[in-house]
């Protein structure tokens, strides 16, 4: 999915620029201007929003009240930041102007330093989105633009691949979270309808002269396109209709039954949010609770214990649990420490096995050994020593939810991980995602208008509009290839010539 998103500015060959050592503004630069929240998400005093591209100056002038004078380069100015559509003051903050090529990306750039509240950030991002020629940046786009402009050294380029990987991963998780909700179903529905529209227009173009394609096909498309356009426009106007996105770092507790997952949740939120009992399979649905860990917002979910169960309800619980783990930024894998095999190497092998059963990838996870109060001090120390020597195991915490032993160490570890995750501006930042969605939906509406404009003059151009609309929506719901459209054509029409 992100493959094509990335393609929008994928990697212009850096050769010319790097070879000649010419530091001028990138001649090959993208004509679009992008913006994004560049500082981390979570509680912070100042948020930095970065803009890069030819329209940076327009954005800066129209939003920082600088209509009549040029801002001095690379100098902080304290300005009121306004929404260019309504002239409403959004915040008071610092603005900076970096004319290209002397900027990080080599293009004209600007920065807005505003107060770090989600409402302010969301408002500024939306205001930026309303400036013509602006769109939210794709994952890693600033870095890529810098790369294109020859602003990065070779070693930094090596790092870029890994960066894109990390960011696409964060986006993937985030998209998964959203796509499972009501909003996701809405977008999927639009995408399905659009696909059908496109397939029918394409069928009409490629086959109607030779084939029996009912005359009504295009009229149906006209109606569908108009309806979709109205529907998406209404959705864009009525912001309350949007599903409230769950914000914060998504932390999921997972593991076998009776390992003490619900106890851990209750211990962490200091209230009996989840029912605990010695009966295996007590938790069947996902129990969610919002927490503040050292100032960072997290959304903690307790899930059903993973086991094969004949019980239908429990099976559904296990499915949901697995879905949650897929979407998690961080997974706490809880293991009953008193049930570990006693022999030397075996504990490590057991844990490795267990982990690969719970997690699809093990990069974002903490291993929590619970019920250590049931172990003798000697066994515990031996275990700790053994496991610390095993490479490839995730960080390990020994705790007891019963006696609160080891809890402090666990909390410190959790705090550090959440802090790192929040440093990544993409994780759990719904405002950014909303801005991205809005941009893609607006693009979609504009493209549908193109269909109507060219419908009678040039059907190929009209079809291009539907295709473009689908690409826009595809940035949210997943890419649609030519083959998929052909599949619909051959399912709906009998093509015989």
């Amino acid at each position: 999915r992100y493959f094509f998103a990335l393609a929008s500015c994928r990697l212009t060959p850096p050769h010319r620029r790097l070879c000649t050592g010419d530091g001028g503004p990138a001649g090959l630069a993208d004509a679009q201007t992008v913006f994004a929240l560049s500082s981390g998400y979570g509680r912070c005093g100042v948020a930095v929003i970065r803009v890069s591209g030819p329209a940076s100056m327009t954005a800066l002038r129209s939003m920082a009240g600088l209509k009549h004078r040029l801002p001095p380069p690379r100098t902080a100015l304290l300005r009121s930041i306004t929404d260019p559509r309504t002239e409403e003051v959004l915040d008071r903050g610092l603005v900076l102007w970096f004319p290209g090529p002397h900027s990080f990306t080599g293009e004209d750039s600007a920065e807005f330093h505003v107060h770090g509240g989600p409402a302010v950030i969301a408002a500024v991002l939306q205001a930026l989105g309303s400036v013509p020629g602006m769109r939210p940046a794709e994952a890693g786009e600033f870095t890529r633009r810098a790369f294109q402009a020859g602003k990065l050294g070779l070693t930094e380029v090596e790092g870029l691949g890994d960066l894109i990987h990390a960011e696409t991963e964060a986006q993937r998780r985030q998209a998964l979270r959203q796509m499972s909700g009501e909003l996701g179903r809405l977008y999927q529905d639009w995408s399905r309808k659009l696909k059908r529209c496109l397939a029918h227009v394409e069928a009409f173009i490629d086959f109607s002269e030779d084939e029996l394609i009912e005359d009504g096909v295009l009229n149906q498309v006209d109606t569908s396109v108009l309806n979709l356009q109205t529907e998406i426009e209404r959705h864009l106007k009525d912001e309350r209709r949007g599903e409230r996105l769950r914000s914060g770092v998504q932390v999921v507790i997972a593991g076998a039954t009776n390992a003490g997952k619900s106890s851990l949740l209750n211990t962490l939120c200091q209230r009996p949010a989840a029912i605990v009992s010695p009966i295996a399979g007590t938790t069947r649905d996902v129990v969610e609770t919002a927490l503040d860990v050292g100032g960072f917002p997290i959304l903690l979910s307790d899930t059903a214990g993973l086991r094969d169960s004949p019980d239908l309800v429990e099976r559904e619980g296990v499915r949901r649990a697995r879905e949650r783990v897929e979407q998690a930024d961080l997974t706490l894998v809880v293991v009953d420490g008193s049930h570990l095999p006693p022999d030397d190497g075996e504990a490590a092998v057991f844990l490795q096995d267990h982990l690969s059963g719970v997690l699809p990838t093990q990069d974002q996870c903490l291993l929590v050994l619970n019920k250590v109060d049931l172990l003798t001090e000697e066994t515990k120390q031996k275990l700790e020593a053994d496991l610390s020597r095993v490479p490839g195991l995730p960080p390990l915490c020994f705790i007891s939810c019963h006696t609160n032993e080891g809890l402090q160490h666990f909390l410190t570890e959790l705090h550090n991980r959440v802090k790192t995750l929040c440093g990544d501006p993409l994780s759990g930042a719904p405002t950014l995602t909303q801005a991205r969605h809005r941009a893609h939906l607006q693009q979609c509406v504009a493209a549908l208008a193109q269909y109507q404009r060219y419908r009678d003059a040039d059907l190929a151009l009209a079809a291009e509009g539907v295709r473009l609309a689908l690409t826009g929506l595809g940035r949210i719901t997943g890419r649609v290839g030519a083959e998929e459209i052909l599949d619909i054509i051959f399912k709906d029409f009998c093509i015989g010539k």
Binding site: I205, D210, A457, L486
Partner: protein, 681 residues
């Protein structure tokens, strides 16, 4: 136009057979096996590029035969014909010579998707192709059946890499050697014919089956992955037995538009065009299909056939209870046969007669030749390079149905490209490729070699992402210049003509832009046009021409002194200007072109490449061996991160080579200086 005289067929045959005796042991640059649409284009293109070329075919008089439908072009396919013509291929001019019914499909849907199409006279088409081949310098035609395709053992230094050395004919112990071989075997590769419950080996009814030798070499010696596909053809009906009053007359275009950029009109006079008719199937047709199902081997097989152009059996089985279209198409000016497009069937002949008589115009019809089905082998095309060369066999090129495509136009398009590359390879010139952004041929080849096929591949305009710029009207500007300058397959006559067209179009656009007036002034000149522009904005001729109701002729009548020199381009100018303002995909095109230009070395060892790539990505890259970074990005499973690493690698390598090149240059300069110093002393 078409000034070339058709040489009588008889003398053509004699010339060829006189040559045939002396060929054994000779060495050719290129040998083309097969004389269908792919083979004839490949042989002609190879010879144009400058290679000594030999075309081997089972029967000389079947060269250029239209095995199935007597028509050329259509939506998507017409674009391919235009592109083949722009590369100086044969089929466009042959279509203009042999066409007896011309129409441009999609006339009302925008110039990008216009589909030039013609019904052909089978006899004339064959004559044209045969006489063209005869007049082609450096091309020899030989009648014979190829017994064996000769390849070297794999090079021990490069496991799995073979080289083609030539062919051996049946009953002929001496091989004919060649640097390149182009295989265009069509449906003959392990082909079997199906009619009712009988099957027999062969690729076309009335022709001998080809030997299993080629198939064995491809499968066993070269280890190529092969698959099986099926196709079919309808019965031919005696024209006299058809009641045309029960079918709907379909008029041709009143003025035929030629396929070829070199022709201003076609051979057939407008008023002499033949007629086509349209009729529909009845419930009786469905009944006959169901009743004869147990007698129909072809339908029962699970070999993949196309979802388009399916047999009447599969149409009524997949969409029961509907009536289906049947087109009644002429087979030629003097032919007493009729081609029922849409009635491909493989049931026993007596049942075929029963079926067609269920259709009103055919209620007393007689069948001349029954329809039948064909199963044949194809080579999974992901094993080819974008030059259509088999990756594991140096010098072996494939084109047409052997690559899993269907259709004359698809075959011809691959033929030109494979032939040109086979010649270039034989003459030690680097391969040339076409990008998706510049041609339908590029889309076709890219789809084949990067994605492969699961059913016979046919061109549709919806496969081309950049459809609005890959138009039939501008194929010459897209391909002829490149074909001459980079490929060498275009004659200088055609090149000069295209340069003239390009320059005139440019001048005309400049002239249009120079005509600047205020909207009221324009309104005075063109009173019938509604112009909404505000008073202050000046408008130039190009902007005015963009109005839907404004034609170039209208502007020309207002400014005759300025615009009349460009009258012959009026339609092209209108299209060009109308779409110039539609810049939508231009940036995407540029981006893709930049990526396409970054080639990935073919001999790269992805498993030992010192960059961080996951094992999965390495496996995918190793299997597909994309030839450019652009092709790599389209592979499912190759991550953006992997692309960055690849890009970095390619760039790094390019730098190194550049440095090495510079060093060499310096050394050369040093030597020369030394030399001149010595000479001076």
């Amino acid at each position: 136009m078409l000034t070339k005289k058709i040489v009588p067929l008889q003398s053509f045959l004699s010339v060829v057979s006189r040559r045939a005796g002396h060929l054994a042991g000779r060495h050719y640059d290129v040998i083309v096996v097969g004389g269908g649409h792919a083979g004839t284009e490949a042989a002609a293109a190879a010879a144009r590029v400058g290679a000594e070329t030999l075309l081997v075919t089972q029967k000389i008089h079947t060269i250029g035969v239209l095995s199935c439908n007597p028509s050329l072009g259509g939506v998507g396919k017409g674009q391919l014909v235009k592109e083949v013509d722009a590369l100086d291929g044969l089929c466009g001019r042959a279509g203009d010579w042999a066409g007896i019914y011309f129409s441009i499909l999609n006339r009302r849907k925008g110039p990008a998707v216009w589909g030039p199409r013609a019904q052909l006279d089978r006899q004339r088409y064959r004559e044209f192709i045969q006489s063209e081949l005869l007049c082609t310098p450096r091309l020899t035609v030989l009648e014979g059946a190829v017994e064996e395709l000769m390849v070297t053992d794999a090079n021990p230094q490069e496991p799995g890499r073979h080289r083609v050395t030539g062919i051996r004919l049946a009953n002929d112990s001496d091989p004919i050697l060649a640097s390149s071989v182009v295989l265009t075997t069509g449906t003959f590769l392990s082909g079997s014919l199906f009619m009712g419950r009988t099957t027999s080996p062969g690729g076309r009814i009335g022709d001998a089956p080809s030997s299993a030798g080629i198939s064995n070499t491809l499968r066993d010696r070269l280890g190529l992955r092969m698959g099986r596909l099926k196709t079919g053809t309808p019965p031919r009906i005696l024209k006299d037995s058809v009641d045309f009053s029960l079918a709907k007359f379909q008029p041709p275009d009143s003025i035929p538009s030629p396929f070829s950029f070199l022709n201003t009109h076609v051979r057939c006079k407008p008023e002499e065009q033949q007629s086509c008719y349209l009729t529909y199937t009845t419930p009786g047709v469905e009944r006959v299909v169901r009743e004869t199902l147990h007698l129909n081997c072809h339908v029962q097989q699970d070999t993949k056939g196309p979802r388009y152009c399916p047999s009447i059996e599969s149409r009524v089985l997949r969409f029961p209870g509907r009536s289906h279209q049947v087109w009644l198409e002429p087979e030629g000016v003097n032919s007493d046969l009729l081609y029922p497009q849409g009635l491909t069937m493989t049931m026993p002949p007596e049942m075929q007669l029963r079926l067609i008589r269920e259709i009103p115009p055919f209620h007393r019809a007689e069948i001349h030749t029954p329809g039948y089905g064909v199963h044949y082998d194809y080579v999974c095309p992901t094993q080819l390079s974008p030059a259509l060369q088999v990756k594991s066999a140096q010098g072996l090129f494939l084109a047409g149905q052997i690559n899993g495509t269907t259709g004359y136009e698809e075959a011809a398009a691959q033929g030109v490209w494979a032939g040109a590359n086979a010649a270039r390879s034989a003459l030690s010139m680097p391969p040339v490729t076409l990008s998706r952004t510049e041609s339908y041929i590029g889309v076709l080849i890219d789809d084949l070699v990067t994605r492969g096929v699961t059913e016979p591949y046919r061109m549709f305009t919806s496969r081309a992402e950049f459809r609005t710029s890959l138009r039939p009207d501008n194929a010459d500007l897209r391909l002829t210049l490149k074909g001459f300058e980079e490929v060498g397959c275009v004659s200088s006559f055609r090149y000069q003509e295209t340069v003239r067209v390009r320059d005139s179009l440019q001048e005309a656009l400049t002239a249009l832009q120079s005509l600047t007036m205020s909207p009221p002034a324009w309104r005075k000149k063109l009173p019938d046009i509604r112009m909404s522009e505000a008073k202050g904005n000046m408008l130039n001729g190009m902007e005015v021409l963009q109005y839907q109701d404004v034609s170039f002729e209208m502007l020309e009548s207002v400014f005759p002194e300025c615009l009349s020199p460009y009258k012959e381009f009026s339609q092209r100018l209108k299209i060009e200007v109308f779409l110039t303002f539609f810049h939508l995909s231009k940036r995407d095109i540029e981006r893709i072109q930049r990526e396409e230009n970054m080639s990935l070395p073919q001999d790269i060892d992805y498993f030992s490449l010192p960059v961080s790539l996951s094992v999965e990505v390495r496996q995918i890259l190793d299997r597909v061996r994309p030839s450019t970074l652009g092709a790599a990005t389209r592979l499912p499973g190759v991550t953006p991160a992997a692309i960055v690493h690849l890009l970095n690698y390619v760039w790094h390598k390019g730098q190194k080579e550049k440095r090495a090149h510079k060093r060499q240059l310096h050394q050369k300069e040093d030597r020369e200086e030394e030399l001149s110093a010595r000479n001076a002393s």
